[in-house]
């Protein structure tokens, strides 16, 4: 965490994407969800089920956070406040799974 805030223009008044962009994102989210469910039902996809589902849901996650929650356009400090704990939470999940021999 540095102190770039000082003397810089605060960025909370950035132009947000308009309704059109929001709907576009929603369409993408819907398509990804459909894709996920499809993967679940197609036996041929099962060898890559876990990695592909994880990738797709991470993509959805990112889209919502970046555009609907405006992190892409907002001040970097907010990203820090959210992303660091998220990484920590993910690390905790992975560490516990490892310690309990899930993988």
């Amino acid at each position: 965490m540095t102190d770039h805030e000082h003397g810089e223009h605060a960025t909370s008044e950035h132009a947000h994407p308009g309704a059109k962009a929001y709907v576009g994102i929603a369409v993408i989210l819907t398509v990804i969800t459909a894709f996920e469910v499809a993967i679940f039902y197609i036996p041929q996809m099962h060898p890559v089920l876990v990695p592909s589902l994880l990738t797709l849901s991470a993509l959805k996650f990112t889209l919502v956070v970046m555009f609907y929650m405006h992190l892409k356009f907002d001040h970097r400090l907010f990203s820090w406040l959210f992303v660091m704990p998220m990484i920590l939470a993910a690390a905790v999940i992975l560490a516990l799974m490892k310690l309990f021999g899930v993988f």
Binding site: A10, T30, E36, V37, S57, V64, F67, L81, L88, L96
Partner: protein, 200 residues
């Protein structure tokens, strides 16, 4: 203070060191904290998965088409939420209140679906006490459902205010923060849907 003064979005608030609104910052920190909360719940679910001594097991119980629809409903509520915010930020409280209502209704649909799902599972023999799957599943999704319910109450409160014209442009932050909460609840469901339902 001249440095930060021009960056202050709301005249009512004293200027801050970063020029960022304190309430919004508090809320992002809160969401960071919530990450650890849901992270611990999800970790427990994943650690205990497959250790059940007795059924029912996830694959005997989950209805993927139904939950996919619920997940879709919640995703769409994120869209209506962001549209509500955009309207309020433009100063259009009428449209804003409509989108807020739509979001709340979608949220209620999701919670209703969850109630239906829980009842269904209950009759199929999966109780809170049946096995580890029952305990971890109901507590994890139950806490998520509680979050959605709190969000729905919050949204209706904002709706009432917006209808009465009490959320002008200058107070858009109130809606923005509710939106952050709502989207967070949505992304938690994105994670739960994948990790709990699809990857069995």
């Amino acid at each position: 203070m001249a440095v930060a003064a021009h960056a202050v979005p709301h005249a009512a608030h004293p200027p801050t060191s970063t020029g960022l609104n304190s309430r919004k910052m508090l809320f992002w920190a809160f969401l960071g904290s919530e990450c650890m909360f849901f992270g611990s719940l999800i970790a427990t679910y994943l650690v205990y998965r497959g250790r059940d001594q007795v059924g029912p097991h996830p694959h005997e119980i989950f209805s993927i088409p139904f939950t996919s629809f619920s997940a879709f409903v919640l995703l769409m509520s994120s869209l209506t939420m962001v549209l509500a915010l955009a309207a309020i930020q433009r100063g259009d409280q009428k449209k804003g209140s409509l989108w807020l209502a739509a979001t709340a209704l979608l949220g209620m649909t999701f919670v209703g679906g969850q109630c239906y799902e829980f009842t269904e599972f209950f009759y199929k023999g999966l109780h809170l006490q049946t096995n580890l799957f029952g305990s971890t599943f109901f507590v994890l999704t139950g806490f998520h459902g509680t979050h959605v319910t709190v969000g729905v109450i919050w949204l209706w409160t904002l709706f009432t205010l917006a209808v009465r014209g009490k959320i002008p442009k200058e107070k858009a932050l109130d809606v923005e923060i509710a939106g952050l909460y709502w989207h967070f609840v949505d992304i938690v469901w994105i994670a739960i849907f994948t990790l709990v339902y699809l990857i069995q």
